[in-house]
């Protein structure tokens, strides 16, 4: 990683990632038809990755929500048919709950403890490789020799470990596949009828 890359990644890690569960929660609650929170989040992150500089960002959390909102707007404009609900859904998007509740905020405070628990929850082989890489700091090649597996397999375990952590930290422990299933079924049931969710 180049220095600038690393600096941006660190900025992202400290200032943006802690707010992902809140953003995901907000996007899921707003549940716009045809808009997957996972897609919006990734696209918003792309915008952050491509910024020339992040120095001017005063309130990363508010900025993140704003960027996510612009991504949704773009999706809505691109869609040929704008479902009628979307309009007032967007109204609601004007007011993300920016004052985080204690529960939501607790996420970014005990990183290491969570990290230890997340690593502990990984599948055994992945966990072994991940501990050797991250706790003991061995290069992947050495891990391969020690575990008597190929380097490519080690790389796969590291990849799984990272994906595991993305899920763990991004959804604050909620089962993410469940979340997207819910969204999918909601999308599937969108045939002009009002959704079940209460709204006003």
């Amino acid at each position: 990683m180049s220095g600038a890359d690393r600096e941006r990644t660190r900025w992202f890690l400290r200032n943006i990632l802690p707010h992902e569960p809140a953003l995901r929660g907000w996007l899921s609650r707003s549940a716009l038809p045809g808009v997957d929170p996972g897609d919006v989040i990734q696209e918003a992150y792309t915008i952050l990755a491509e910024l020339e500089s992040v120095d001017a960002i005063r309130h990363p959390r508010a900025y993140l929500f704003q960027v996510a909102r612009s991504v949704i707007m773009r999706h809505v404009r691109r869609a040929r048919i704008v479902p009628i609900h979307t309009v007032d859904d967007l109204e609601r998007l004007d007011h993300p709950d920016d004052a985080a509740s204690p529960e939501k905020h607790a996420i970014d405070r005990d990183e290491l403890r969570q990290l230890a628990r997340a690593i502990a929850a990984m599948p055994p082989k992945t966990r072994q490789a991940f501990v050797l890489r991250r706790v003991d700091g061995l290069p992947q090649r050495e891990i391969a020799a020690r575990m008597r597996i190929s380097e490519n397999t080690v790389e796969t375990h590291i990849s799984r470990g990272i994906l595991f952590l993305i899920d763990w930290f991004g959804s604050s422990g909620n089962n993410r596949s469940q979340t997207s299933k819910t969204v999918e079924s909601e999308i599937a049931s969108l045939d002009g009828r009002a959704r079940h969710q209460s709204r006003h």
């Binding site: 200032n15 529960e103 990290l115 230890a116 706790v135 992947q140 796969t156 952590l165 909620n174």
Partner: protein
């Protein structure tokens, strides 16, 4: 492909790339494949940024130390992290303080006026305005935000302030009655028992008075009161990185004496490193070490300086190995 990738597919591929990058530098061909992949979908760059950020975060697992036993952290069932109760978190903080060295803060920073850490603990406290304070070991701060200013008092210890820009509401760090003022900066302030207050600016600009400002990569030792002797010293970016290594649970030395290094470790752990031999205590040490692993550090030192390591109660004692002639079975005994 008819079906566009789901965000899940992209996360999977992004994790693969992050793991590939973790393995070592990319060949030009592989890098070209990565660039092609990145430009193929507007979500991919963001997904990779996240994967690498998570990967970077997991580097702090090194601070768990080699004695880390994942089994100790296995939950009875996979819990929802958000539902960890305050009591559980505190119980862990107590039990884990020695094991993992870092502990949880289960209350929102905004709701408390005083935030503190125990020895060996590092804590990130997000503030209401998007600024964050990272507290190093044995540190106490008081946070007071008003409409006119964002004020944090460093009562003791060491903290890194990442201040979100707000021209209208300056961020002020009070320490020993002096006021460090900024509208946006990343800087570290240290107030230890006997030493004078030490300020190091990593990013932005911090003012002590209208006439005295610190810019990036400068450091200032505060006197008891305003004084002409107070002059910011430029310091090399590498030295800044070393100074701030504690943010990742590490300690970096480059030529400090073993005594100084031992004193630094003492801030992070109950285990003391004792070096009775004055000549050995003056030996320069270099390297990057886990701040919560004084024993691991001592082992490394013992092997480099051919010293003997003994654990006496809670302490580690380093002594020069006996002169070569005397290194017999009797000496080893």
């Amino acid at each position: 492909m008819a079906e566009p990738d789901t965000s899940r597919d992209i996360d999977q591929a992004a994790s693969d790339w992050a793991a590939r990058l973790d393995r070592g530098p990319l060949s030009p061909e592989t890098d070209a494949r990565l660039q092609a992949w990145l430009s193929g979908d507007p979500r991919r760059k963001g997904a990779l940024l996240r994967a690498r950020a998570v990967s970077m975060m997991s580097e702090s697992a090194q601070a768990l130390g080699r004695d880390f036993d994942p089994a100790a952290f296995e939950p009875a069932r996979r819990p929802l992290l958000a539902s960890v109760s305050r009591r559980q978190a505190l119980a862990w903080a107590g039990a884990g303080a020695t094991a993992a060295g870092l502990a949880a803060l289960a209350l929102p920073a905004a709701a408390r006026t005083v935030i503190s850490t125990e020895r060996g603990e590092i804590r990130l406290a997000p503030l209401k305005d998007g600024s964050t304070v990272l507290l190093n070991t044995e540190t106490r701060i008081r946070v007071r935000y008003s409409d006119g200013e964002r004020r944090v008092t460093l009562l003791e210890g060491e903290a890194y302030f990442a201040v979100a820009r707000d021209e209208a509401r300056p961020f002020i760090v009070e320490v020993n009655g002096r006021r460090l003022r900024t509208t946006q900066a990343g800087f570290r302030v240290r107030k230890l028992d006997r030493d004078p207050v030490d300020v190091l600016v990593n990013q932005g600009r911090v003012e002590l008075s209208p006439a005295l400002a610190l810019t990036a990569n400068t450091r200032l030792i505060l006197s008891d009161g305003p004084s002409a002797a107070e002059r910011p010293q430029p310091i090399a970016p590498e030295a800044v990185t070393r100074d701030l290594a504690w943010r990742e649970g590490k300690l970096a030395f480059e030529g400090e004496t073993l005594k100084q290094a031992a004193d630094t470790f003492a801030r992070y752990s109950q285990t003391r490193i004792l070096v009775p031999d004055a000549a050995l205590a003056r030996e320069p040490v270099a390297g990057l070490f886990a701040s919560n692993d004084p024993v691991g550090f001592s082992r490394a030192i013992a092997s480099v300086f051919d010293a003997r390591l003994e654990q006496q109660g809670g302490d580690v004692v380093l002594t020069r190995a006996a002169p070569v002639a005397a290194t017999s079975s009797a000496a080893a005994q």
